[in-house]
């Protein structure tokens, strides 16, 4: 850009001096300028302004004219259309060698499964198209997806983590083979290497060996890990989650004297106080909480009409209970806060005091 700047310092100085002495008669009243070049108002600057984009201005000296270019492009597009006028190549039909049971091409299969978040499982139905898991939804038949009502048909709701976890089942970017320093190896190589490493550990009883996992509550996986630990008694197993429940567990330790996980039963709660806890959308086990919470938000008037079928009467009577009441003190807007009957937005620094205080914040 430097060659575009046409600062004429001499002119500029004269103009400023003229303005100061009131001799500038170019414009009546107060004059404004956006740059020093404009103030100087040199002939070079005027030319610069007229050309507007001196760098990018296209000089039409190209030997290929615009019209020629358009003609050529039009012809190539028209000819490209002709490439569609060919016979379809012979298509192949490749059936499986051995057909899986229940598999019908074009029809999805559903498998009951679960995904674990922070050690708490969410019951899921995995949809599989041609052997590939494509979608996860909640399993309405699982007790976790039902509320206390015996006539409840169950919910197929899921949370964002379960929805996203379909990629952990089928990720096209994930390696299909074991990698060693980014180079592909066979499974046989992997098993051979790990066996050698384990054999070296055996005399030491696994001293210095560490297993790092996420929170594992699966009985099968836990039993397998315990099996390794009995074989290598000196080895250590660590469970770690970047977003964890450690503080809640420490609180439970102080309250109950032993490390326990707190599972809330919102179907029995009449008054709920949430201290910055987004239990309706961001906690492990949030679906059960949300469903139990919502069930207590439906107020049904007593049905005394005996002409209705008996079971409906029964159902309506069962549903009659007091609505729960939700108090939320939180530091950031959440779904739970939006569902609250009483809501206070406070600074994070004030949260501890609010929890201790017996008065409402603010």
């Amino acid at each position: 850009m430097s060659e575009d700047r046409h600062i004429n310092f001499k002119l500029m100085r004269e103009r400023i001096l003229a303005e100061q002495s009131g001799q500038d008669v170019r414009t009546p009243g107060k004059s404004y300028w956006r740059s020093l070049e404009e103030l100087a108002d040199s002939p070079e600057f005027r030319e610069f302004v007229e050309r507007e984009y001196p760098q990018q201005a296209e000089e039409w000296t190209d030997p290929v004219e615009r019209r020629t270019f358009l003609k050529l492009m039009g012809a190539s597009l028209a000819l490209a259309g002709l490439s569609g006028c060919v016979f379809q190549p012979a298509e192949k039909v490749v059936p499986n060698v051995k057909e899986s049971e229940n598999r019908v091409p074009g029809k999805a299969l559903f498998f009951a499964t679960a995904s674990s978040l922070g050690g708490i499982a969410t019951p899921l139905l995995a949809r599989s198209n041609e052997g590939r898991p494509t979608k996860l939804e909640g399993n309405p038949d699982h007790p976790n997806s039902r509320n206390a009502d015996p006539n409840d048909r169950g919910s197929s709701a899921t949370d964002i983590f379960s929805q996203a976890s379909v990629l952990s089942l089928y990720d096209p970017d994930r390696s299909n083979v074991p990698l060693f320093r980014e180079e592909a190896r066979t499974w046989a190589t992997f098993v051979g290497e790990i066996r050698t490493a384990l054999d070296e550990q055996r005399p030491k009883q696994g001293a210095g060996m560490r297993f790092l996992t996420e929170t594992i509550t699966s009985p099968t996986l836990a039993a397998q890990l315990k099996g390794i630990l009995t074989e290598f008694p000196q080895a250590k197993w660590h469970q770690y989650e970047p977003v964890n429940n450690d503080n809640a567990r420490a609180g439970a330790m102080r309250a109950f004297g032993q490390p326990v996980n707190t599972i809330y039963d919102f179907s029995k709660a009449d008054r709920i106080l949430s201290l910055d806890a987004d239990f309706l959308s961001a906690h492990p086990g949030t679906l059960k909480y949300a469903r139990d919470f919502a069930a207590r938000r439906r107020f049904v008037a007593p049905v005394l009409d005996t002409s209705l079928p008996v079971d409906i009467n029964h159902l309506e009577k069962k549903r009659v209970f007091e609505m729960n009441r939700l108090y939320v003190i939180e530091t950031t807007p959440t779904t739970t806060g939006a569902s609250a009957d009483h809501h206070w937005a406070i600074r994070p620094s004030e949260l501890l005091e609010s929890g201790k205080s017996d008065r409402c914040p603010g």
């Binding site: 379809q88 012979a90 298509e91 192949k92 039909v93 490749v94 059936p95 499986n96 060698v97 051995k98 057909e99 019908v104 091409p105 074009g106 029809k107």
Partner: protein
């Protein structure tokens, strides 16, 4: 001044004008015929397969039902080609050493699927669903011809849009009772008045949509 043109020129001019019309019509006719010919549609063209499989032998002579191999024809879009394991159900025991069946045995041994050549290949812009046709009275032989008489399978119909519309406009001419769907010998088209009357009854019974819906663009071009 002598005449520039000879008398015969008149006749020549008339011939040229009429001839031009004739040539134009002939060109259109040739185009239409070429378009419908098996050269363009692939009709009647036998497809050589990796295995010398004879539908005539299996369906005509042995009397296998279509669904023994094409299992999913009533339940889904495609009438699945049979997996190698289905072939081996019988051919483990009969013709177990036949050299013709070596590709099948090799597939079963190595776990590599047989790559059959598709005989009826609709364009990709046309949606077709086997199950709706089979469940609403369109028999196999209506579209696929007498498969029980084909030593090597070929495409029995043109598979052109006018052929599809022939039935979508007049379904009563082609539907048959549900128990005759897999009967190869059933006439592919209802021709007599009684047959067409029966067809009308079947159209009502199967709740086949009226031609207005059957010929709507988005029925097939989705």
């Amino acid at each position: 001044m002598p005449q520039i043109f000879h008398h015969s020129t008149n006749a020549l001019a008339k011939l040229t004008i009429y001839g031009a019309v004739f040539i134009l019509v002939a060109a259109l006719w040739v185009t239409a015929e070429l378009n419908r010919s098996s050269w363009n549609t692939g009709q009647w063209v036998e497809r050589q397969q990796p295995v010398q499989f004879s539908h005539k032998h299996h369906v005509g002579d042995d009397g296998l039902d279509c669904r023994y191999c094409h299992t999913s024809v009533r339940s889904c879009r495609v009438s699945r080609t049979t997996p190698t394991s289905t072939c081996m159900n019988c051919h483990k025991q009969i013709w177990a050493d036949s050299p013709y069946l070596e590709p099948v045995r090799a597939s079963f041994r190595d776990g590599k699927p047989i790559e059959w050549i598709r005989v009826h290949d609709l364009p990709d812009y046309a949606y077709f669903n086997h199950s709706i046709h089979v469940n609403k009275g369109v028999g196999c032989s209506t579209c696929h011809g007498r498969v029980d008489q084909m030593p090597i399978a070929y495409q029995a119909s043109t598979l052109q849009m006018e052929w599809c519309l022939g039935c979508h406009r007049n379904p009563e001419k082609f539907v048959r009772p549900q128990k005759e769907i897999f009967n190869m010998a059933w006439p592919p088209e209802n021709k007599t008045k009684e047959e067409i009357d029966d067809g009308r009854k079947l159209v009502r019974e199967f709740k086949i949509q009226p031609p207005k819906i059957l010929t709507s663009c988005s029925t097939c071009h989705r």
